[in-house]
Amino acid sequence: MPAAIETHALARSFKGDVVAVAGIDLEVAEGEIYAFLGPNGAGKTTTVRMLTTLLAPTGGRASVAGHDVAGEADAVRRSIGVALQEAALDPLMTGRELMLLQATLHALPRAEGRRRAEALLERVDLADAADRRVGTYSGGMRRRLDLASALVHEPAVLFLDEPTTGLDPVSRLTIWEEVQKLNDAGTTVFLTTQYLEEADRLADRVGIIDRGTMAAEDTPAALKAGIRDPRLELTIADGGADRARDVLTRFGEVAPAADGRVSVSLGGGRGQVAAIVRALDDAGLMMDSLDVVEPTLDDVFVAKTGRGLDDQRAREQEQRERSGDEQLVVEPARQ
């Protein structure tokens, strides 16, 4: 199967020797949902901007839908749908006007553009609000409109840059469901996120990007399995904790857990739980609670990068990246 997205040593630096992306190799298959996970400033947005032809690479190469992003930018643009961070929408336009403009930009015949605009507005539940100005929309409505506008030409590859950042849980769920449906219909999706849950829930494969390089890449399950075994966390009743530790040591590595609990690694998998419970029972120990704790992508992230997703240094890196890339942001004015 041909790759929908392929990069080789893709790199981008900005003036002042700020290296935002330091050589990334990617291969996303057709029909895949690929999540780029990383803290602010890791290079996610810079990578997406290169893949969507908005930013020229300073090193390496990339192709999307079989076309080189530098040499065949127009062919790439015809194949991709793009919904960038913080939905850039014109507050003076109505939702329908935006959809029709997007159809026009993609040179769809008028009637066809209208038909698709209506269908998509219906699909993202904005039909009733279609003639209202975008300025009156909620955050969730804006993201849904932005997503719909990226679909008007039925792109083969959809790029979503932090599609749910700042959204409430219900709006987030709506976007996730929509992305899943699109993917079910065959659309390749490349999304960036700083939410582990989002990557875990949506992605077939996850790439962890940190300081412009790939720290790890695999399916969410494999990434989690690769760092450590699941653990059983127990609350032992009435001061039996010391004796419990002796019992648990027979099954795996024992460590204290939060709130005075004790945890043991399940090297033999979840099937060990029954045996552990029986052993504790035989020793006359009572349990108040027990939970199997799977490693999270957060654990993966810490294991691969040595720090958490909201690390302060990451934020500083982002500021450096922005000062190289973006411009001074001034209070918007209308002339």
Partner: protein, 255 residues
């Protein structure tokens, strides 16, 4: 082809939203040229009595300058709006689409040309009311074509700067550029009465030719080819340079 025209039209309409859907915000730029006209006529209305002044009616003489000044500011506003669109990410939406870059540029420029006709209409009504000479249908049409063309030039200038600086902070540069282009010409007196550096600048400034082309109908009451073609050449020349720079700026925007 029809798809490209549709894109130009759609982008031009979007530019008009700023005027049509935020009426309050449009009033200053709509009325400014008229207010300037009234002020200038009151202050300098007697300049026509200077020996060598080529017109006996200062309102008719200075009206074309105000029309172009209004067009210049409308065009510069297109640049400021593009800078805002770049800052807020809207422009990415256009750049990530397969629409040809010259078509995107044409859409922005077209909105400036259409918008420029609004302040000019107000200006003309007031000018005729206070005694400007009617230039005839041809004279009026020629004037309006040049006003729309000058707004397009100013828009291209603003777009070049917006693409270069990517910030609304560049707004004064956009406005000052068009303002000086109109100012350092035969704007307030015939060339023969200008002295020193201003005379030298006005002589070579292509916008002088544009002003004279707009002015001919109001001052002479008729349109001549001799005063029209230099204006057309000036517009075409400036347009070629500015459009080339704007297209280069668009091509380099992701560099």
């Amino acid at each position: 082809m029809s798809g490209r025209i549709a894109t130009v039209r759609a982008l031009a309409f979007r530019g008009l939203n700023e005027v049509v859907r935020v009426p309050g915000a449009a009033i200053p730029s709509l009325l400014a040229p008229t207010i300037f006209l009234l002020g200038f006529v009151s202050m300098f209305g007697n300049l026509t009595e200077l020996p060598g002044f080529t017109s006996d009616d200062f309102v008719s003489f200075v009206l074309p300058v105000m029309m172009l000044q209004g067009a210049g500011f409308t065009g510069a506003a297109t640049g400021v709006n593009l800078a805002r669109d770049i800052e807020q990410g809207w422009f990415d939406r256009l750049l990530a689409s397969p629409a040809p870059r010259p078509v995107l540029l044409a859409g922005m420029i077209a909105s400036a040309s259409v918008r420029a006709l609004l302040p000019t209409s107000v200006l003309l009504v007031v000018a005729f009311a206070i005694g400007a000479d009617y230039p005839g249908v041809v004279g009026l049409l020629v004037a309006l074509v040049f006003v729309a063309a000058f707004a397009a030039l100013a828009a291209a200038w603003g777009i070049v700067l917006a693409l270069r600086f990517k910030t609304q902070s560049a707004a004064p540069l956009m406005q000052a550029g068009t303002f000086m282009a109109v100012m350092f010409t035969t704007s307030y007196a015939p060339l023969e009465l200008l002295t020193g550096w201003l005379r030298a600048v006005a002589t070579v400034n292509p916008v002088t030719r544009v002003i004279e082309a707009v002015r001919q109908g109001f001052v002479a009451g008729e349109v001549s080819w001799a005063l029209t073609w230099p204006g057309l050449v000036a517009v075409a020349g400036l347009g070629a340079v500015l459009v080339a720079l704007a297209l280069r700026g668009m091509a380099r925007s992701g560099r």
